[in-house]
């Protein structure tokens, strides 16, 4: 019964994507064409695959997770299509690939359950660090696998096989690997971490020895910031770790220490690195620096304000005026064309995904799975807050993209695998 409701809402979301594409065509002078049907087919195929995989490999998984995710992908997809039909074509391929990899993840985990992830946590850590380091490969050596610098950040690898060329951001998968490792590591050491602390008055401080993992994670984040100039991944990684550390131990001291480290790190970065400094300027006074640093944020706010309550309508706004609208500013683009109604819907869908994620964590009896579900949800929540908060000038922009919605194959693959992991955990807990 619930599965049928899930299937119906999922199909409705896929129809929504196709309908929005038709509206964009219509607004741009075309009429209903192959793009509409193709979009529906790809959504049906991608999420149909995931659906079959869930039935086969995680039949007791919560039915509440896939429909909001399809909804988010659908809204993001039509906006990408509206901004750049060519990229939307690529994104469709990535959606198929991401769904296939998510289905594959479910299949592999059906063999060994998620405990297999805990068993290989160190291998996963090494693989993740390896993935993170890949973009630092030379850009000009003879090997087909190369690092790539885009907009001053070193986030990409290129697999150039001569006949085809693929780009990928390994950090999107590495961040999942890191969460798995953190969850495994904290499940092992939570008791020690929780109990070893000093009291100075009412404040409980961790033993210095127990701060080592925190310092290591912080150093890792600083490394990412300096060598890859990826502010977003740096903050995300560290925040995810600190939240998980707190979740595992309940020691408020970690939160305080982590918060202070984030602030000092951020202040130092703003002072030391020009690219961070510029983001802070744009955050503080976008309209005063309208011509340069603040232009993107100002355009984003204009887009949101012009969209007002109900938006211009799909294809009828001008989100193309915002630089990088399809990646960093997809939220503002949606806000312009679907209005306040659209942005609230997007936030509600994300809220639903997060609530379901936390629910899975709460119900988990196994410590590792509990921490893994919580960690995955944290990572998702931090990403949403950093980028939407960045667009809304609540925090500085960090260069993180909006999960499920922004253009970008690597992120879509990473986030679909994240959903597959949550689905699998919810299945295991229901067994």
């Amino acid at each position: 019964m619930e599965r049928r409701a899930e299937a119906i809402t999922t199909a409705a979301a896929a129809l929504l994507a196709a309908f929005a594409v038709a509206l964009v065509n219509f607004a741009n002078g075309g009429s209903v064409d192959a793009q509409t049907g193709l979009t529906f087919l790809v959504f049906a195929l991608a999420f149909g695959t995931l659906f079959v995989a869930v039935r086969a490999f995680a039949p007791r998984a919560t039915p509440l997770l896939i429909p909001p995710v399809v909804g988010l992908v659908a809204i993001g997809f039509f906006e990408i299509y509206r901004l750049d039909p060519e990229r939307a074509g690529l994104q469709r391929w990535w959606l198929l690939i991401a769904a296939a990899i998510a289905a594959l993840t479910l299949m592999l985990l059906a063999r060994g359950t998620t405990s297999i992830l805990r068993r290989y946590r160190y291998l996963i850590l090494v693989l993740s660090i390896g993935l993170l380091l890949l973009p630092n490969l030379p850009s000009d050596w003879g090997v087909p696998l190369r690092g790539l610098e885009v907009n001053g950040s070193r986030l990409w690898i290129v697999l150039d096989l001569g006949f085809t060329r693929m780009q990928f951001q390994p950090a999107e998968l590495a961040k999942l690997g890191m969460v798995i490792f953190f969850a495994g590591y904290l499940a092992d050491h939570q008791r020690a971490l929780r109990e070893a602390h000093r009291r100075i008055g009412p404040i409980r401080l961790p033993e210095p020895r127990q701060l080592i993992p925190l310092v290591l994670a912080w150093s890792g984040s600083i490394f990412i910031l300096i060598w890859q100039r990826d502010l977003g991944a740096s903050v995300l990684m560290f925040a995810g770790f600190v939240l998980l550390l707190y979740a595992a131990t309940g020691a408020t001291g970690y939160l305080v220490a982590g918060g202070l480290m984030t602030l000092t790190g951020a202040a130092a970065a703003a002072y030391l690195f020009d690219h961070v400094h510029r983001r802070v300027i744009a955050w503080v006074a976008p309209f005063e620096h309208y011509q340069d640093e603040g232009f993107q944020i100002a355009q984003g706010l204009f887009a949101l304000g012009t969209g007002s309550l109900t938006g211009a309508g799909p294809g009828l706004g001008r989100p193309d005026l915002i630089p990088n609208a399809a990646t960093d500013f997809i939220f503002a683009a949606v806000g312009e064309e679907l209005g306040f109604a659209g942005t609230v819907a997007v936030l509600a869908l994300f809220g639903l995904v997060m609530a379901v994620g936390f629910g899975i964590s709460f119900r988990s009896r196994d410590t590792f799975r509990k921490l893994l579900a919580a960690g995955l949800t944290f990572v998702l929540a931090v990403q949403v807050f950093l980028i939407v908060g960045g667009v809304l000038r609540i925090v500085p922009l960090t260069g993180i993209t909006l999960p499920f919605m922004s253009y970008g194959g690597s992120a879509l693959v990473g986030n679909m695998v994240l959903i597959a992991l949550l689905l699998r955990i919810s299945h295991e807990e229901a067994t």
Binding site: F26, S31, A247, T306, G351, S361, T377
Partner: protein
């Protein structure tokens, strides 16, 4: 362990609420401010971005079109290639100052059909053509240009009709302005300047302003007299130097201060040709306000005439004038409270030309789709018979004589039989408003016109309908009949 996770979850949802507050702040509270920020190009782009249909003349002359902005794809700019010549008829469609004229009247047809209204969506799903429709106007560009040029520096208006259909052949007001001025980034300032211009270039004097028609109204009085049988062209009247209005010390005299004919008697025919106020005041009182009112009403007075936009009513106040013979005498020569737009007076001339039948004026011939097929065509509608066929014939002979040997001699066109009536109504201040109404050719009329000039220093103190308006009409007849 659920405790700390729950606390983080609470923190996450506090952050989500913060995001909700953020979108509320920017999309609801500050939405208008952000939308209206002058650095935000979106409002202007969305208006300009939409393609509107063409407005063309029957000969293909483009009067308004949307051109894609080369520096900004998918963004369209409105263009008015004829500039000031069609400013009042075609109007403008401007994001900054709104729209007017046919641009406003046909906005629903000319608009882009991609506004995501339900009917647009249905049309799209049915595979209909979504390009905007276009409007074909009846006005003749050559005549229109000649007419505005003929008015020159004068303030005034010209309306020309096809007498048998009511199709507008020219409709313009002087001074005019270039509607393109209202499209640019400084549109609001340009608008302000036009608004504050004492010559009021934004006013369409042809269809949106009523004037005392002066002696051109004698056409209506004569029609009523002939139609009721109260007089025929040969009926004689006393011919005083001054006609004393009953129950008053006021008198009415003729423009030259002399009697109409020999100081003893004058015929209706003579009085009409020489435009004698004394005799028409006398005739009006003899006829009565009611009989004149019946003819005036049949010619479109005191009613809402259906046109492309709302036009003011022409005024002949039957009830009031029936009580006041002195006022009736003044009104019978088109003064006092009688009012009409130049469009109304062109309709009067057209009714005489059209065998006594008045027709409803219209400026748009058809609406056609982007592929050229006609979507809607204007049906010719009659306002009704305003006078008998015989009356129309007699009146035509009298009006022809006005042009051959009366006050309207300057309206003559060599080789063409022209009929007309001049008028010089009391305007504002010391200047009077010259008028001319008429049609040509007499044996098969194809054009009826009304020319009005607002009296100013430009027109001069001695300007009369015969000296200033009639020559302009002559020019128009010539342009129209030789093309």
């Amino acid at each position: 362990m659920n405790g700390p996770i729950r606390r983080v979850a609470v923190g996450v949802f506090v952050c989500m609420s913060l995001l909700l507050a953020g979108v509320t702040w920017y999309q609801v509270v500050r939405a208008d401010e952000l939308r209206g920020d002058q650095r935000n190009p979106r409002p202007a782009l969305s208006e300009r971005g939409k393609e509107r249909g063409l407005i063309v003349a029957a000969d293909g002359t483009v009067l308004a079109r949307s051109v894609e902005d080369p520096s900004n794809p998918r963004s369209f700019m409105r263009e008015y290639p004829e500039g000031r010549y069609f400013a009042h008829l075609v109007g403008y469609s401007s994001f900054a100052v709104g729209s007017s004229g046919l641009e406003a009247a046909y906005a629903a047809d000319l608009r882009s059909r991609r506004d995501l209204t339900i009917s647009d969506l249905v049309a799209a799903l049915l595979g209909r053509d979504l390009r905007p429709s276009s409007v074909e106007v009846t006005a003749d560009p050559e005549l229109q240009r000649a007419a505005l040029d003929a008015l020159g520096e004068n303030r005034g208006a010209i309306v020309a009709l096809d007498p048998s259909t009511g199709a507008i052949l020219a409709s313009l007001s002087s001074p005019s302005y270039d509607p393109t001025l209202l499209l640019g980034t400084d549109a609001a300032e340009q608008w302000e300047m036009l608004l504050n211009d004492p010559a009021n270039p934004l006013l369409d004097r042809g269809t949106r302003e009523i004037y005392a028609p002066g002696s051109t109204f004698k056409t209506v009085v004569a029609a009523a007299a002939l139609d009721t049988g109260a007089a025929d062209p040969g009926t004689t009247f006393d011919d005083p130097v001054e006609f004393r209005l009953p129950g008053s010390n006021a008198t009415i005299s003729n423009a030259n201060g002399r009697p109409c004919n020999n100081g003893e008697t004058a015929t209706l025919f003579e009085a009409f040709v020489r435009s004698c106020n004394t005799i028409f005041a006398d005739l009006s009182i003899q006829l009565g306000a009611v009989d004149i009112g019946i003819t005036a009403d049949a010619l479109g007075f005191n009613q809402d005439i259906e046109y492309e936009w709302e036009i003011p009513q022409a005024v002949w106040n039957t009830e009031e004038l029936a009580q006041d013979p002195a006022a009736l005498g003044q009104s019978g020569i088109g003064e006092r409270d009688v009012r009409a737009t130049p469009l109304h007076m062109a309709m009067v001339a057209a009714a005489v030309a059209n065998d006594g039948v008045a027709v409803t004026p219209y400026a748009v011939h058809r609406i056609f789709d982007a592929d050229g097929t006609t979507a809607d065509e204007t049906d010719v509608t009659e306002l009704g018979r305003a006078m008998s066929s015989e009356t129309a014939l007699t009146l035509t002979q009298m009006m022809e004589r006005v042009v051959t040997e009366g006050t309207g001699r300057q309206a003559a066109v060599p080789g063409v039989r022209v009929a007309g009536k001049t008028g010089t109504s009391t305007g504002s201040g010391e200047f009077s408003n010259p008028w001319f109404i008429g049609f040509a050719p007499v044996d098969n009329p194809s054009i009826a016109v009304a020319v009005l000039i607002e009296g100013t220093e430009t027109s001069g103190e001695s300007a009369s309908g015969g000296s200033l308006a009639a020559p302009i009409a002559s020019e128009l007849f010539e342009v129209w009949l030789t093309q």
